[in-house]
């Protein structure tokens, strides 16, 4: 089970590294297309700005999972507690986990559920009936990055604890 969680987390990390690279490449290409189209064909296609902007949001939110996994997020104050395996270190880590959950879980919940707890009437449900201006596709495909990124962060968080348990189990055979 623990190994499965770690495997899923690592695989997702590898996939998202490639996806975010792709998002930046698409963003770069559409902006370049916009420049070229303006001066060469004198009328840029209307969709380039929207595609580039949505790719930026995808880059940023997928990138947030990368920085979470690699622990490169900006910290206001480094933990004042000793590192694990000191018990205070575990406590600090648990509280840190709590903070992440308090922030992420409501976002994820309200992507799927509305205020009365009805499934399918959440953020995604409401967006699925709206159409993106110049692209003519459902906004669902664009805003889906929000729950995807939040879900991946939660999986990385689980893997963080799973890996930890695994190491101590290996260190203390027979337990």
């Amino acid at each position: 089970m623990r190994k499965a969680v770690i495997f899923v987390s690592d695989t997702l990390h590898a996939v998202i590294r490639r996806l975010s690279v792709a998002a930046i490449v698409v963003m770069f290409c559409t902006v370049m297309l916009q420049v070229i189209a303006r001066y060469v064909f004198s009328s840029p296609p209307v969709w380039t700005e929207d595609v580039a902007r949505y790719m930026m949001v995808w880059t940023g939110l997928l990138g947030a999972t990368l920085s979470f996994k690699t622990k490169t997020d900006a910290v206001l104050l480094a933990s004042v507690f000793p590192d694990r395996p000191n018990v205070l270190g575990y406590m600090a880590d648990a509280l840190h986990t709590l903070a992440v959950l308090v922030f992420i879980v409501p976002i994820l919940w309200y992507c799927f559920f509305d205020l009365r707890g009805q499934f399918g009437r959440g953020f995604l449900g409401r967006q699925s009936t709206l159409v993106a201006d110049t692209l003519g596709i459902s906004l669902l495909w664009i805003v889906a990055v929000v729950p995807i990124a939040m879900l991946v962060i939660l999986i990385h968080l689980c893997a963080h604890w799973a890996r930890d348990g695994l190491r101590s189990a290996e260190l203390e055979p027979g337990k």
């Binding site: 009328s43 205020l115 009936t129």
Partner: protein, 304 residues
């Protein structure tokens, strides 16, 4: 407490929507329903406000017409160039047709109700840096800023080219010559302090710029019959306050521009006809379906 998201600065002199809300609030508070004005931006942008109406977290808003058009493009008929002769003509059409019933039927899927259509100022003209525009040939020489596909189609109909530029970059675009001008109400360059840069206004009266007053269906349906009657009464009062302001503003807007040193082109009926005929082809671009265009135009002729 009825929270209303405002769409701009609370200025009675220049804002049509703020005049509307003042007329609306007066009737509401006289009947014991308090209105709280949420300043523009304080609870988010257009999309966020619409989402909060959907979920019932916000009672009312003054929204972009686009918010409605994303569910039913029928409302874009209001922005067909030269469909209306003036605001009174538009009011007669909205009164006579089944506009509100039709739109609200479709808005129901997002739990939102359309209460009113509010002109934000006198009819739109061309606001340009250098060129004075009197004919479609004048505008054909320029590169104009377009808000969206629909405006782009209009410029192309007049033989001009458009560039989509976001509003936050428009000052830079005007100053550096990326665009030569844009189309909007005469109050816009004044309230955004652009009169040092844009030197010309051409009163082409293309469309009536407007906003949509939306309400949350959850809130609207939760009202008692008496309360809903008060809201209906207040909406009428808001419409009235707005049209009184609009009449005064239409009379003085051009003079105010001239006082700020902007050259104003007042077009003759023949010149307006040239613009009207030139842009006729956008009725067939499909932004609004052919069927809807037909119903809008026949209604317009009926009410003329």
């Amino acid at each position: 407490e009825v929270k209303v998201a405002l769409d701009g600065p609370p200025n009675l002199a220049t804002s049509g929507t703020y005049n509307w809300i003042q007329g609306f609030s007066k009737v509401m508070s006289e009947n014991g329903m308090d209105v709280r004005e949420m300043p523009r931006g304080s609870i988010g942008n257009e999309d966020e406000i619409f989402d909060q109406l959907s979920t019932g977290l916000l009672e009312m808003s003054q929204s972009d017409v686009r918010a409605v058009a994303r569910i039913d493009p029928y409302i874009y008929g209001l922005r067909l160039p030269y469909l209306f002769d003036d605001a009174a003509h538009m009011d007669r059409m909205l009164e006579a047709g089944d506009f509100f019933e039709r739109v609200n039927e479709n808005l129901a899927q997002q739990d939102v109700v359309l209460l009113a259509i509010v002109p934000i100022g006198p009819a739109s003209g061309f606001i340009t840096t250098e060129a004075a525009i009197r004919t479609p040939e004048d505008i054909a020489k320029l590169r104009m800023r377009a808000l969206d596909d629909a405006q782009l189609a209009m410029y192309e109909a007049w033989g001009s080219s458009g560039v989509i530029v976001s509003w936050s970059e428009i000052m830079t675009a005007l100053q550096t010559g990326v665009v030569d001008g844009y189309m909007n109400s005469p109050f816009v360059p004044m309230s955004f302090g652009q009169t040092d840069v844009v030197r010309n206004f051409s009163d082409a009266k293309v469309i009536i710029p407007m906003r949509a007053v939306l309400a949350s269906r959850l809130w609207y349906d939760s009202l008692s019959d008496d309360e809903r009657a008060v809201v209906t009464e207040a909406v009428k009062a808001g419409d009235k306050a707005n049209r009184i302001w609009l009449d005064e503003a239409s009379g003085s807007a051009l003079e105010q521009l001239e006082e700020l040193g902007v050259t104003v082109q007042r077009l003759t009926t023949e010149e307006l006809t040239a613009f009207r005929e030139g842009v006729r082809s956008v009725y067939e671009t499909g932004v609004v379906s052919a069927e809807d265009v037909a119903s809008w135009t026949s209604l317009a002729d009926e009410m003329r």
